[in-house]
Symmetry: C2
Subunit: 288 residues, 2 copies
């Protein structure tokens, strides 16, 4: 029970629990008005999720010597942004998805109008949380606000969703790579940068973390597309790398990205290298 | 031509022009991808508007000794937030408004999906603009981020829109006052606070400006409801104070709020008192 793997599993469980409790506390209370909107915000965020983005922020910060309590609010802000993007992407005028994380999507459960307000309120709350974070200095808060708004903006999540809406039935690999970078990669990169900013990391560590997160995001998307195989066969999937690359090549692509992600950490030095042990655990379902 | 009124008119025209040019520059270029989304963002913000909120920020800051260039980006962020709220309020699942500022609303012109992304992108860009503002120190940026996110949140614009969606056919005056405070008042108050933060104003000046802006917001809403009379007669208006108070009482209410707004400025001292001269000009149409 004291093998590295058990220790890593344990550390990950601790961090996930910390994120859950952080989100519980930071989200507005459904007992306070507007009740329905607060309930919808909590429903959107607190539904079961892997919490990969906040955990990446916590792991990066802690590995670089920053206390977890200092970075926790900003880490939770990342999950609020992620949840906001899911709520909005699921809307009838977007991907029109009835379920999310195994539950009715927010607009199915609360109505379309409330879903739009919920998505916007969660994005807004992410900035509120960073501005109020008790243990960060003003310079770090401003840098995180700039980082998060760039990540969400028309060169990031919003731009990615716009691309998704305009995607050709048979997109090129180049188009798909850029789409995945904007829809997934940018927020993975922002997660490790949030950790690095909280820790006041060196430029070298930041650069290594960025490469790590970029490759991890692409691996994540590749695994996600592999999981979509059932959807694809049923003709339900949207834009997917599986139909462009085929299953074997996509599996190779995912494995290569994971390996490159770990290599970037080793390049980053002895503080960051141990993070490699968490990569497989974070993707357990995908790599099992 | 050198009477005070002419001078005030001229100063207001200069400030309005400054805001227009600031918005032109700060909004993403429609020549840069994603073209359609950037075009929709510019369409939403650059359509003809009175620019009351950014002008209030500029007037307050300048009156307290802050150079206009220092506060301009944050003033423009207020207009981006205001425009975002209009785009989202107009959506088919909200107020389903086909026109705005005399033009097709964003979802009519660009589609509902693009309209949702446009609203979210404009809100996000407001935070980006504040975080990048070249002449503000980090403490002012953090305070503005906290202020703007509180203003947008479930106790402000978003909460107001949620209330609007749930309004009873014959709401009480108390409900309407709170609704108008959240939908209009909070952003007026935020505007003068942005000016005060940029200028590093004293607590006394901030308090006077807050009262001024609160009364001004309520006056604005009263005039707006008076203007809705034609809509109301045609049965097209939604929640409106006209149907609760009647025309004469609502006109009295508007005049009293304007007068209270000016009185608050006089209480605020000699630096702020001159702002009273701009109140009637800002509402020229309503008070003509």
């Amino acid at each position: 029970m004291t093998e590295p793997l058990a220790l890593e599993r344990n550390r990950l469980a601790v961090l996930r629990d910390l994120v859950e409790r952080g989100l519980e506390e930071l989200l507005p209370d459904a007992g306070d008005p507007p009740h329905r909107l607060h309930a919808a915000m909590r429903y959107a965020v607190l539904s079961p999720g892997k919490r990969i983005r906040p955990i990446l922020a916590l792991l990066s910060a802690q590995q670089l010597g920053c206390p977890l309590a200092d970075v926790l609010p900003a880490a939770c802000a990342l999950e609020m942004i992620h949840s906001a993007s899911l709520v909005l992407d699921d809307l009838p005028c977007m991907d029109d998805a009835d379920t999310r994380r195994g539950q009715p999507s927010v607009h199915v459960r609360y109505g379309e109008d409330v879903a739009v307000l919920t998505g916007v309120a969660l994005l807004n709350e992410a900035f509120a949380v960073v501005s109020r974070a008790p243990h960060l200095n003003d310079a770090a808060k401003v840098a995180m606000t700039a980082l998060l708004s760039r990540t969400v903006g028309t060169g990031g999540l919003i731009g990615g969703q716009d691309k998704d809406l305009r995607a050709a039935p048979e997109p090129t690999l180049g188009f798909l790579s850029q789409l995945h970078h904007e829809k997934t990669g940018v927020l993975f990169i922002a997660a490790v940068e949030v950790g690095a900013l909280a820790a006041g990391a060196s430029p070298g560590a930041v650069q290594a973390l960025r490469v790590f997160a970029r490759e991890l995001g692409l691996a994540f998307q590749a695994f996600d597309d592999l999981d979509d195989e059932a959807d694809l066969e049923a003709g339900r999937a949207g834009v997917n790398m599986l139909s462009v690359l085929g299953r074997d090549a996509l599996r190779d692509e995912a494995a290569r990205r994971l390996s490159d992600a770990k290599a970037a950490l080793v390049e980053g030095g002895p503080e960051l290298a141990p993070l490699g042990g968490y990569v497989d655990l974070l993707f357990r379902r995908a790599t099992a």
